[in-house]
Point group: C2
Chain length 218, copies 2
């Protein structure tokens, strides 16, 4: 059984394993967890004892199969609770992350499966991220950052790279949400600023920074 802190570290290791290529460094983890590298060194010893990661001193950590399963359990709960908060309690998508950070640690597999059923077995959360099933399996449609799309193409917004409230509120302001279809009208090579048409809803400017964090599909 993992503590809240252990679950949070494991989640961070899982996410960093996906983006980065091989093993996760102590520094990267300490930045992600907002703790000091020394604290990370302590924690990875405990996680290695529990067989959810493997590591060699000074060489970073690798998540184990067991660890991946545990991380996906927490991620599944996080995303299901986010769906609950938005769909049932009518929270806005920018308000749910912090609350789900707490709810994801509630321990009861019966609760998780009943919640899943109550929500109608959703496959994505309010930010477009896939929800793993009880075995940790999920299908993730390929997504690209909007910033990589060429002028003239039409794409659909299917996800966001981060769930910071400020970022999501900005998207609300420019009328972008999951499912929005857009056409790239112009793109500045220097700073990445884009002009896009929201189909049937006018045109907006999207900065390079925002475009990096918006995920699309064709």
């Amino acid at each position: 059984m993992l503590s809240f802190a252990e679950e949070n570290y494991l989640k961070a290791i899982y996410h960093l394993s996906l983006s980065g290529d091989q093993s996760v460094s102590t520094n990267a983890l300490s930045e992600e967890m907002k703790t000091k590298p020394a604290s990370v060194s302590d924690m990875i010893k405990k996680l290695a004892e529990k067989k959810v990661i493997s590591y060699q001193k000074y060489q970073g950590v690798n998540i184990s199969e067991k660890g991946k399963k545990e991380a996906l359990k927490v991620i599944r709960k996080h995303r299901l609770w986010e769906v609950f908060l938005v769909e049932k309690l009518k929270f806005n998508w920018d308000e749910v992350h912090e609350i789900a950070e707490q709810l994801e640690h509630i321990k009861s597999s019966l609760l998780t499966s009943k919640l899943d059923e109550f929500l109608g077995f959703p496959r994505i959360d309010p930010h477009g991220d896939p929800i793993p099933d009880e075995n940790g399996n999920f299908s993730d449609a390929p997504k690209y950052p909007l910033s990589e799309v060429e002028i003239g193409k039409q794409v659909t917004i299917v996800g966001v790279e981060n769930s910071d409230s400020e970022f999501l509120k900005h998207l609300d302001k420019i009328h972008i949400s999951l499912g929005t279809k857009i056409v790239i009208k112009d793109k500045n090579e220097f700073d990445g600023l884009m002009q896009v048409e929201l189909i049937g809803n006018g045109q907006v400017h999207i900065s390079g920074k925002v475009a990096d964090n918006l995920l699309v599909t064709e």
Copy 2:
């Protein structure tokens, strides 16, 4: 801001203040919390520093107005989540206590008020206990233990004195739930064993122990 452990102690102090008359003893608290008296002595110092209780060495603790408010916030969340689990997720009433013990510590007053609204502002939980409003106010209809009711009287089951799974499962087995109307047919003075008629649903025997934990109203 209170920790989970502090919230749990405060809840226990609140409950013991209601049943017992004056101040709550260290031993009573240690029994309720399943910790050692020495741990209780430690904790009450912290709670007194946070002004949620007052105490004099060797004289037990008294909950403060501030403490009562905090305790009622936790109790409100506990009971709202129990309603959610039973009404929405279709848990049986004997399965929800432990999960609600976890959910009651989730910190977000917006979550609590939205949950309250989603549930239709329920006034009692699945065990018949009243749900405090956002200000800690609640109305509690007078309830008596079934064991005190005389032969020949008709009463309605409106609550249970404890929420242990074993006890609640037993009630399911003998077809007793909140709202059940019964008539006392016989009552043994020696051991309290009762024979009662479930109106329109036959007769059952109820032991003195069970009758002590069943709350009724006329």
